[in-house]
Subunit: 248 residues, 2 copies
Amino acid sequence: MNVLNPSASAPFLWRLQSVIKLSEVEQQAILNLPVRYADIKADQDVVREGDRPSRMFFIINGMTCTYKIAAGGRRQIVTFHMQGDAPDLQSVHLTTLDVSIATITPATLGFVEHEAILDLCQLYPRLSAGFWRHTLIDAAIFREWMTSIGQRQAPSRIAHLLCELFLRAQAVGLVDDDAMAFPITQIEIGDALGLSSVHVNRSLQELRNKKLISLRDSELRILNWDGLQAAGDFSPNYLHMKEQERRA
Amino acid sequence: MNVLNPSASAPFLWRLQSVIKLSEVEQQAILNLPVRYADIKADQDVVREGDRPSRMFFIINGMTCTYKIAAGGRRQIVTFHMQGDAPDLQSVHLTTLDVSIATITPATLGFVEHEAILDLCQLYPRLSAGFWRHTLIDAAIFREWMTSIGQRQAPSRIAHLLCELFLRAQAVGLVDDDAMAFPITQIEIGDALGLSSVHVNRSLQELRNKKLISLRDSELRILNWDGLQAAGDFSPNYLHMKEQERRA
DNA sequence: CGTTTGGTTGAAATGTGTCAAACTTTGTGG
DNA sequence: CCACAAAGTTTGACACATTTCAACCAAACG
């Protein structure tokens, strides 16, 4: 956590550009952001509920999950984040964290002081809009997850999650040949979908038996995309991927 | 929907000021926003999933819910909104709506063109921050609801929802003497919490039997706040109410 | 190479859903 | 302002998706 690297923010820039078009100047502003990066082991908390961090971070490599603990120690994972995502961008304005964020895999993270982000927002309204839009897409994902957990049965919930993660991985170039690295355990899937790991296991077998996916050795392969979408009641609109933003 | 009223945005201003401190100039900018208002009957869609609205709205009076429809016509209500809230503020940047928004009660709404909001964001970074913060608090509520639906049992989910709505109503002056107007039906509670209306009914009776609340004739009265919080595993931090924002 | 972590299977317990009917309150048109 | 209709609430019996507990197996790891 002590090396300073001027180009480390490239993954964050790419991700932001999938969210909003940026001018050369604005791109440079992001690339010039003072970033401190750190390698973190798997299954470590990066930040904890109640923290008041003075910096945000983005993912250079690896996967994280955001979670809350409910009564009885039950854990709800509210979202997964991958390359380029900024899991706690919200902390720029919501001073006290209402969630914890942990690594799923070993991860390389880039840390940026909130002040630096706020300065950019003052200078470049378009960057401000981009950051806002990033958090809005996160919120859209939360809404869709709520719908999944509240209304869909277990196999459908799982199919839906797999569809989402696959598209998001694809968008950042983490998919080849219909397959992606899938480091999430069945327990974690359960924590994300409000299911026991036992039931996740049985439901996954259903999806496998229907020849929709193969999932083993931490690799997810889509065997039948249309079938998986149908099983998961999945429609990608909520990810707001190809959408052209309105203006400056 | 044809009267123009220069001071109609007052409830929105009050709400924004609970989110971020504003200067005199910024306050005036909000008050001078060109607002068109409209009275809408209960149980009407204000906007629908797939719409690309050119304006956002805030609630002058009444209550709305944001919902999604899943396979089989099952409805998930993802949030309720009340006085001063801007339920589709997100539409300023997420052009295509991924949710529908309907009135719960007859409501008076104020509509503002997105362009006007974007102009203010350019002029006043602090307002930009305030809008962003408003949507971030919405997202925090989504996260907490996910945790409720995913991890808590029915009576606890309901108690949690009641706590939240009570505090939010209190913050905008809609509570007196431990009671608030409660126009939400048991079916709607079920749609919000992923429960059948039958089970909502039985769980509400539990809360009543424990002398935590009284709920009848569309009035919710809190009989034992501490008990209700405990039953709902509720802690208000996620509402980010008294939190002082960091800076400009 | 033992130890840990994650995956799989079976059987029993249970929270919640579904269906159906009755009851109560609210709203409305005559 | 009544009478009726519509909407919301309550109750009972039964079905079932999912959880829990417990054991075993397989893969990853130091």
